[in-house]
Amino acid sequence: MKKWLCLLLAAVMLLGLAACEKKGRDSDKENNAETVEPAPEPSGDDDGIFADGDQYSFIGGELNVLNWGEYIDPELIEIFEKETGVTVNYIEMTSNEEMLIKMRSSDSSYDLCFPSDYIIEQMIREDMLQPLDYSKIPNVKNIDPKMTEITNVFDPGNKYSVPYMWGTVGILYNTKKVDDPVTSWGILWNEKYAGKIWMYDSVRDTIGITLKYLGYDLNTRSEAEVAAARDKLIEQAPLRKGFGTDNMKTSMVNGKAAIAVIYSGDAFACIEENPDLAYVVPEEGSNVWFDNVIIPKSAQNIEAAHAFINFLNDGKIAARNTEYICYSTPNKAAMDRLDAYFTENETYNPPAEVLARCEVFHDLGDFVEVFNAAWSKIKSSN
């Protein structure tokens, strides 16, 4: 009797599992269909994959790529694999700090990573990067000189890194739920929205915008100013829904939260799914950030790494990629291919006056420990 019941139970569970899996696959398909469909074919163009008719010779081997989650069009990886015979191992991470730890551990060798500005500055300081061989990256000509002007601040002359994506940090809010004007970071401390406010789970971004709100420098080295920002964020604890990353996007799109501190690219993708949402870079100013592609010193397949950078900077490929992940591209050839839906959108392509009030994060050296200590206290304030 008991045996029979057990068997029956096991069978029911297996059926349930099978059903779940099938459903998962179906929805995957739907998702793919959705994302492929709105991507408009660049107008008046040839049929080739590449804008400049690039040819790649066979390279082979493996390429270990460490990147953020949902931060590349997966089809592009397949194309690259087909063109060069390289097997791409794509590994994801959720924070710059995590990337630093992964790159430091001696047994792991990544060939390409996509860290942000201040981490690149730190990696250069700690001598972790390889100088790029620009003779192997001809497509770098496509990068907008206005962008390299900004990235010069943390990587002079782009010796070690090529800009991949960029954006701002701002507030995404639901116009149906927020009736106050959203112009200041101060809305994040408005008790009317208690329990409906998402903050970003990243030490530099969250403390950075609070410093801005208090009128301090984003890259401050004053312990008193960091302490003031810390206390402000501890005061905010009962109002917060949480510190999120990718999970806050679902929450915002479904209208479960009212306000979120978010990167412009994610904001753009959320607004695409829920038109009630709007994005603002507050008037106190904010952070403009760059995720650049770098080759670590410990990289094994340097040939393939350079080829991949060149591949990503092809005008057509970069356009496809930015259309897929919704983050702004620093690639001028790609920008020229995008339609007004992207280029005239202020979230995707912020106007000069917005950029004028944004600053880049800098590597803080050992002072980052003061930030981390403050962060640890903020995270246990709820």
Partner: protein, 271 residues
């Protein structure tokens, strides 16, 4: 002599996965970037925040254990008095969820709290939106996750209990309550003790549940350790190791205390 041979794999295992990691923890706690120093260790243990979060974890672990015991004991008692075949089937129902991955189950709870409950009951706020709600939500999911670990040893002890002792107690004139308090309860102490150990230790070291259920905005001691290691600077390793040593000492103390109660070593070792 020959028998010793069979112990070697176990010794190798112990050295590789228990002794060596311990040495690493002590190394990183007192060694920052190649130099030996107690400065980092002392500054971490003198931080008020370390102890307040540790206290919060202890309280949370006590509450989880107490609720699991209060819920688990009646269930185990009822199961132990059922027909073996029925009890077997029902206990399977309790343990089937444990076949699922722990993180997956926690994610499912996050979806229930954040989406399912508000949509089903048409409420605006989720539990985690309310002040103090994150604590309740974390407690709820911890109880859910650890309840089977309480039921199992209790059921094991209670079902092995000699039923003639209960009959004898009734024969000698004790009523149901007295029989329970003076015969059943004392005899089930080993089960209670191993149940408490099996719930208390994992709940004091928990970090997945507070991280996922608290929306990244609720820290128990385990989260503090994780944050230290993930902070990205090398000193984070020494902070994290120091915190781990404090936790290690706490777990050793609580295990020693529990062992004093569990002299016959019954009940446990089923999982």
């Amino acid at each position: 002599m020959k028998r010793k041979f069979f112990a070697y794999p176990y010794i190798v295992w112990m050295i590789l996965f228990i002794a060596v990691p311990m040495l690493f923890i002590f190394y990183y706690a007192f060694n920052v970037d190649g130099t030996w120093t107690t400065e980092r260790f002392l500054s971490t243990i003198s931080d008020k925040d370390t102890w307040s979060v540790l206290w919060r974890s202890i309280v949370m672990a006590f509450e989880t254990t107490a609720i699991c015991l209060l819920l688990g004991y009646p269930i185990a008692y009822i199961l132990s008095n059922m027909k073996k075949s029925v009890a077997g089937f029902i206990s399977i129902l309790f343990f089937v969820p444990m076949w699922m991955n722990f993180v997956l189950r926690t994610y499912a709870w996050s979806a229930i709290i954040e989406y399912a409950i508000p949509d089903l009951f048409h409420v605006e706020n989720t539990l985690t939106d309310l002040p103090g709600g994150k604590t309740i939500a974390v407690l709820l999911v911890m109880v859910y996750d650890f309840l089977p670990f309480m039921i199992m040893p209790l059921y094991n002890t209670l079902s092995k209990m000699d039923k003639s002792l209960i009959e004898a107690s009734r024969d000698l004139g004790a009523d149901g309550l007295t029989t329970f308090l003076r015969v059943v309860l004392p005899l089930s102490v080993p089960g209670i003790v191993s149940g408490i150990t099996m719930v208390f230790v994992p709940s004091i070291t928990a970090f997945t549940v507070p991280e996922l259920i608290g929306n990244g905005d609720y820290s128990l001691y385990g989260n503090k350790i994780e944050q230290a290691f993930k902070s990205g600077n090398i000193s984070g390793y020494s902070v994290g190791s120091t915190l781990s040593i404090v936790l290690l000492i706490l777990v050793i103390i609580s295990t020693v205390i529990m062992n004093r109660f569990d002299k016959d070593k019954e009940g446990g070792s089923i999982l």
